[in-house]
Subunit: 340 residues, 4 copies
């Protein structure tokens, strides 16, 4: 069976395992106050060129989103997201369970349009009854998006300007950030992200780690954030389990090497599938590729290759996701191309 | 100044005031356990032909929606609503503050389409990842809708069938129900509503009362509903203040007479405006009429007549709402027509 | 049947009914933006000597508590209350449903001790692990307390000093404030309360009104409070129904006259019961009196007089509450004394 | 520095590291649907003698408590706990943030008394106003307790009987369950726990694992639990990271061996400290020992040994916690004894 259904089906990166084997028997203080977390934070601060950044290590993407969003919004505020945003459709209502509405705008290849975002905020303030409705209190984007597409640096800057103008924070969900940074079409650095976002997270789970996401507040920490993390059940007693993932990922360029492999494999896969005449749902420059397959094509492949079901395209076709990762081997890609 | 901005700008109906003047000095037990509430409930049970209905009197529409929806949904469920539904856009995020997502479908003249509703639910179950997303746990409709339009009995039955098939409750928001029941285009009775809905409320605030909505569970009461009402801050110590509104409204056909006047006045208004060539945003058979006005027309009228701002239509036009009510007088309608 | 079970069993005060009969047919704008609310607010501002106070009219006590507390606390904060505080035991978990812990301290005749309150806060900051526990973010008191007792002005000042020292708001629940103000043992004015509290409410429901409490922010309004009120289902479309109660109560000293009658009747009742040798659970200077009765005494009286059950004292005795109100007549008190 | 401040300061058990090194490069399906989780679940089912048990692996104790409690309680219910229960004082208000009140009873050496628990529930139903207050909907206990003490099998059975009588679930927090099971004073097995509890968790974080707790529903799973886990941000994409901890811990008696070492070390520590005349705060048969130290004693030790601050005993004394663990070495214990 060839596995292309997601980028979190791989085991742990060998360098991370080696890291834990090495630190395994140290005694370390609890709740992220240890030297491993300190080291990881320092490496991330350097990578972001943010010496004063506050960093928290959480376990997963939905957890990071719910903790960050809940901590930043006031009771009467909601978070603006593309309708395809992970927080809108794929988190089982976590944001709403935390008390907040996701205010959706139509996506453009998975992205928010800066202009439309500003128009929405302007419209809110122009509405005479706006005190009766949910106030836009935050903008949520993901990089790469849920469709594998990328914001350009220019788009990020423009979203930043909109947010700054209306004094609302810009939050970037980087569950797969490593795969964005390694894409040849990417034109922004971690430093750019830290400059233009008020908070963001660097995803580990999908980029080589066992688990873990690094939430970065480049400038201002939310008041009481540690306690909110605890209250949300997101504080690990052995915080260094999370910190260690990033201490390893940010050593020897591992995070970038993980990203690079996935991008290279996806490029080869895309090229091969295009040659074979497959139709792509949209153009993605990162590790997730979306194909339109006939239902019976998918059926025929079921026994030999595993894809991610995305959505029904029409009664006869389905959209599937093929994801490469840090661990995908060229032999697997070629085998899949041969199969298809 | 001619007031047509809403149907809750009128004072209290004189028959309700007379009622309270009469019962004013009785001693009555607390929290809705009194004889006035008992009498009102009995009258509503008769009107709905539901001898076993459980009825609760709450203060307002948003309160009724949040208490009912919260009490019926499980943690992981959301409520299906037209995107124009009051719970989606006009309640300041009350449903989300209660922990639940509003699952929106595109409206058709303010209404949910039964077919599309079923398709949405089918789609949920067909999604292999549906355990990762919010489960549709309830259907919310309003009668009349936020655009003054009406569900037909056939549409109500079909929504009921969908809900029954997937074992989810159907909830009808009747904030302006009196204006639906009195419309010549209406083809359903309170008895029909009680038959096809699992819970609904009969609006008082906008149909003559000082305040108050009567939440009706025709067959099965939600477990612990009284305590949920209390917990939500929705339990009045002097429950009879609410019960009394309905004891009066359901005496001598007052509720129907209130509805009838608004409908008659709206019909005359509509006829007059059509004669004058005004463009309606959509066709409404109830007491709310939606006009497309030029910005400067609205500006010119501002000093003499008051409308409800609805939305920006295009840079030069705006949609406004004109609402009649139980208290609108024919002289006011004629004066407005003359003015316009 | 003689009714002494509570102070909210009386109907509406005749002067309030007269007020509504008079204003009944005015057209008034929605959501508390009308001239009646304006007038009521102005009268309350004068009574509190707070020309800049922001005032909101809500429907009931639990609603006021949950909306105020939720709007003031941050996610990781709780509210300090005496264990006998209404918010702790009598609101069906409304504060917790809003996401916050009630941090209880032992009561002293229903009151918080300022010294103990400060010690609790000091203890919190001394705890090395305090980032793992709920931060005291507010102090809640009620005047009179749930046992009818009164804070002295000195106690209020000392609580204020503690709160100011640790930058947390002091909130006073005045559900029965009229009965405190009229007590001969009271030594604080509305002006004092406005000076030393950050927010408080003046209770209407139990002091003559049909319903309604006036929430007063003497100096600083909470950001977005209007929207939070709406979101909580606490915003009445016809806000003037609430405002009118207070416009009437704060005319011709009605609020004080209501208080005075209840206090006079309670004094006579207390005197009479003491003469007859009844045992009081504690000494209350306001309209609620707590008696210890033998179970069979209570049983014997059941048919002729109605009391409020308070708690089981021991297997043979029970604590009951006798409440007088603005509407209690001297003949009722004498009849009860004769009966007992 | 000698570290006795907690049982989660140890690194990862070597057998667990070895396990992950072995499985490291497998491709595994997401969200706990993999073969490693299946294997771990099967081992736990055997250990509990519950072939139909449903098992979920979560990341930590507070997370397990909030997810389990929230999923089991209805809106108007609270959870009964000893006032010393972890859910009451040490989880930053996580239960309340989930909407529920913790209903506290006085502890007896950290334990709930079954008799008092029943009396509390009886009292609730006897209260005429019980529809106005939070309903006891669950009983929470921890084994060992927060003070290291143990429920006997007889006490567990009696709590079970109370819960069964009033149809409320009994939930056991086993954050340190391994240390209870290995105590010579323990008289209950995992099978007993599964028999008498409706849900419980087997703690990994504090008993050798990197992280992870195994939530066990011996008979009935809560409806929608998977989605609630997701919504709470508690679902790891790589679920096998958690499952693997338990697959290793339940191989070759590792879980029991971890427990045994801590208990043996604690016994030696206790014996040694008693010989030296130290005063224990209470008698604990497990791995946590509570000492009363003079403030200056603690100060003097600060540089050489690290304890857990527990609480202020009196102005001159403090209660500290000394915890042993699976990794504590006899040399460390002897060194500490020598030091003290």
């Amino acid at each position: 069976m060839l596995h292309f259904e997601s980028d979190y089906i791989e085991g742990t990166h060998p360098e991370i395992l080696a890291y834990f084997t090495e630190v395994g028997d140290r005694k370390l203080t609890g709740y992220g106050t240890d030297e491993i977390c300190d080291s990881a934070k320092e490496k991330i601060r350097k990578a972001c060129n943010c010496p004063d950044a506050e960093i928290f290590f959480l376990s997963g993407g939905t957890q990071s989103n719910l903790v960050v969003i809940r901590s930043l919004l006031r009771l009467y505020e909601g978070v603006i997201s593309a309708n395809t945003g992970h927080v809108n459709g794929h988190e089982a209502g976590a944001i709403e369970a935390g008390g907040h509405k996701v205010l959706t705008l139509p996506h453009h290849n998975g992205k928010l349009d800066p202009e439309e975002t500003e128009q929405y905020i302007i419209g809110f303030y122009q509405d005479e009854n706006h005190e009766h409705i949910v106030k836009p209190g935050m903008v949520y984007i993901s990089q790469p998006t849920e469709y594998g597409t990328l914001y350009s640096l220019d788009e990020l800057q423009r979203l930043h300007e909109v947010c700054e103008k209306y004094s609302i924070p810009l939050y970037l969900d980087g569950a797969r950030l490593g795969y964005a940074l390694a894409s040849p079409e990417n034109d922004m650095t971690l430093e750019d992200i830290a400059k233009y976002c008020d908070v963001f997270y660097i995803g580990g789970t999908k980029v080589g780690a066992m688990l873990g996401e690094a939430v970065v507040f480049p400038r201002h920490l939310v008041d009481g954030f540690f306690t909110i993390v605890k209250q949300s059940g997101a504080l690990l007693a052995k915080g260094w389990i999370l910190g260690g993932q990033f201490d390893a990922l940010f050593s020897n360029d591992l995070y970038y090497r993980c990203g690079k492999n996935a991008i290279d494999m996806a490029a080869r896969l895309k090229e091969g599938l295009k040659e074979k005449g497959y139709t792509f749902y949209l153009e993605s420059p990162t590790n997730q590729q979306f194909l339109i397959l006939e239902n019976n094509q998918l059926e025929a492949l079921k026994e030999k290759a595993s894809f991610g079901f995305w959505e029904i395209y029409d009664p006869d076709h389905v959209v599937v996701r093929l994801a490469t990762s840090w661990g995908t081997k060229i032999e697997e890609v070629e085998a899949l191309l041969e199969l298809m």
